[in-house]
Symmetry: C2
Subunit: 389 residues, 2 copies
């Protein structure tokens, strides 16, 4: 097919100057229709694609964006990246993946090295954990950046940001349990240093107060967002005399909920008959555990897509490709269909218990202290861990 044509060759073939070819290729506004067509004909015929490297050198824009992630084996990461990849595929940009290992103490060096290469024209930082302060320095020094980071309070956070409404999420989970008639509802919090953990807790409190209940300190446990701490909390709770058990538990993330399921099975505790359980996240496996987990769904894939869209808008306001909008409607319904398979929500909808699957919607982006923030909605996914089949 193509060997190694340059813009020069195309220019010669089309009988124009290479600057003209360049202009056509970059959608320069003031070009005669005739020239544009003449060039495009040759471009298409030879399947010409300009050399990215040269483009980067000359124009300063690399058409590469970096994506910094925790190990891909973390629960939500692959889904977020799917959203990123699907969006990026429809642009002329490419994604350079930096999957960093937080175990490595030198990870700030890694970040510096990445950025000093000046290869990426922007950075999407996904759950950067303790790297946040370091990254913010680069941001303040001018690197276009977007974060997906639920550890920091959005207020006064200087960097563009995509996240979900954790408060409402916590409310949804708790409200669901209240609607089922439960009153003694425990909450297993995430680490207090994580803002999302605080928000989910606040949502929990708000739902309780709405029905005239006050959060009971005895029913509040402290977890670490991992299965081990879930197991620990479960053992602690189930070691109490039966009368002091809660009727239901809202666990601040699915990982800890898995720990609860394990302990429950060990000890022969029936879920939801003995205790109802609701998690948060809707990880891919949550519909496959036993019993399938009722949980608050975060639209991870959509978060990734929104975040990369925002980033590209920052580095290149008109990066949008022709077929972008059409694909957005279609592709998302397909992605959305994944939300309502026969296994999970369908059963809930079918059992006539009146629980609905509220499909998330995109809130409009808003500015807080000058930085754009996009907050997406969570949605409750009802499965068998809260309502018996």
């Amino acid at each position: 097919m193509d060997e190694k044509l340059t813009i020069q060759d195309i220019a010669r073939l089309a009988g124009v100057s290479k600057s003209s070819v360049s202009r056509v290729l970059n959608n320069y506004p003031a070009i005669s229709q005739e020239l544009r067509e003449r060039v495009m004909r040759v471009v298409r015929e030879y399947n010409f694609v300009p050399n990215v490297t040269a483009r980067g050198l000359a124009g300063g824009k690399t058409r590469l964006v970096g994506v910094l992630t925790p190990p891909l084996t973390w629960p939500a990461i692959p889904e977020m990246l799917r959203g990123v990849a699907e969006y990026i595929e429809r642009t002329s940009y490419e994604m350079v993946l930096y999957s960093i290992n937080f175990e490595n103490p030198t990870h700030t060096d890694v970040v510096d090295r990445i950025l000093s290469l000046r290869m990426v024209s922007g950075l999407l930082a996904i759950l950067p954990c303790d790297l946040t302060p370091h990254l913010l320095k680069h941001f303040e020094r001018g690197l276009p950046m977007v974060m997906i980071n639920d550890q920091e309070p959005p207020e006064h956070f200087p960097c563009p940001w995509v996240g979900v409404d954790n408060r409402t999420g916590g409310y949804q989970a708790t409200r669901h349990l209240l609607d089922l008639g439960y009153r003694r509802i425990a909450h297993v919090m995430g680490p207090k240093r994580y803002y999302c953990a605080q928000e989910r807790f606040e949502g929990y409190c708000q739902a309780l107060r709405e029905v005239g209940l006050e959060p009971d300190p005895e029913l509040l446990l402290q977890g670490e967002f991992d299965p081990a701490s879930g197991r620990r909390c479960a053992r602690e709770l189930f070691a109490r005399e039966r009368t002091r058990w809660p009727e239901a538990i809202f666990v601040a993330n699915d990982q800890m909920a898995y720990g609860f399921l394990e302990v429950a099975e060990e000890q022969g505790i029936q879920i939801p008959q003995d205790v109802a359980l609701v998690g948060f996240d809707d990880n891919l496996v949550s519909s496959h555990v036993r019993p399938p987990l009722t949980t608050v769904r975060q639209p991870f894939s959509q978060m990734g897509a929104k975040a990369i869209e925002l980033l590209l808008k920052m580095v290149d306001p008109d990066h949008v490709l022709p077929r972008a909008r059409a694909a957005e409607d279609e592709g998302h319904t397909e992605a959305g269909a994944r939300m309502t398979p026969a296994t999970g929500p369908l059963a809930a909808a079918a059992d006539g218990s009146g629980h609905q699957l509220r499909v998330h919607e995109t809130s409009a982006p808003y500015r807080l202290d000058g930085a754009i923030h996009i907050q997406l909605d969570t949605s409750l996914v009802v499965r068998a861990s809260s309502v018996p089949a």
Copy 2:
């Protein structure tokens, strides 16, 4: 810190020519020790990193390698990429991720676009499915490429290749069940068009014959490597009269095994008491399903690492960084237990439940018809789905 120093600036600061700086930076052999030190001092002081883009343009090597993957939500992909990322992090290369959606009918175009950009100096194609023929064209046209692809028979496969010994894997699974005393052992095959499915089946047959048994056609089912087909096969099997049930089942991958677990739970069939179950892959979730799944482990992360190592050796034989080897021995014992056979066998530890975990070893790379092939070993992971706790 650094603003935008060029090699020219460094040269001036060090009082040498820019070619000298370039040579030092590229480990050119014939350089005086003094010059090298003089340059490196300045380089370090200013934290200089050469511009990748310019490097790519001038030298023709981009220091970027492409990694083509199915959606990251596929079971083994994140683990493979973890291996890739951990290796790449220790080199001066970066990974450009192309996560493609096989649903998209135009994916060959996507591939062509990627490659015509001439941005990546090599491509690692992970489980490219029906894209293989198309990719091979690019390979034969000179693009350095490595595949992780278990659908094709290694013989006569022209492209460097990393995979596992599926035959021995199938043997291990079956042998394990035989050792437990089972004789009526069913096998749920993967699609016949996948070479790995055939190999696993052959391993199954070999183990049976070793103890004087002949594979029973009645106990051979055909699946499609997805949970749905697993459920289908399970229903088919368990619908037979009880005397015609197998005592144990070797399912050709974990995904299908999940389907078996679901159906078993639906129908109140006890695993392993009523039927023992062994899968293949050891996906991340397989230790968390109920009961935890006995399975043949593929060293996905190591496969990724080996594959990218091979690819980098092809595009740049001495890409190894100074700290690479040290890191491999030391800091990497944790992650590196997967990489170095040295730490392998010793780690034959119990996973808490007293079941042995045989750690796989790396076979030496060998050539087949001129193309390098690396075949890694699988290992049996015994959990509760085959031996009651």
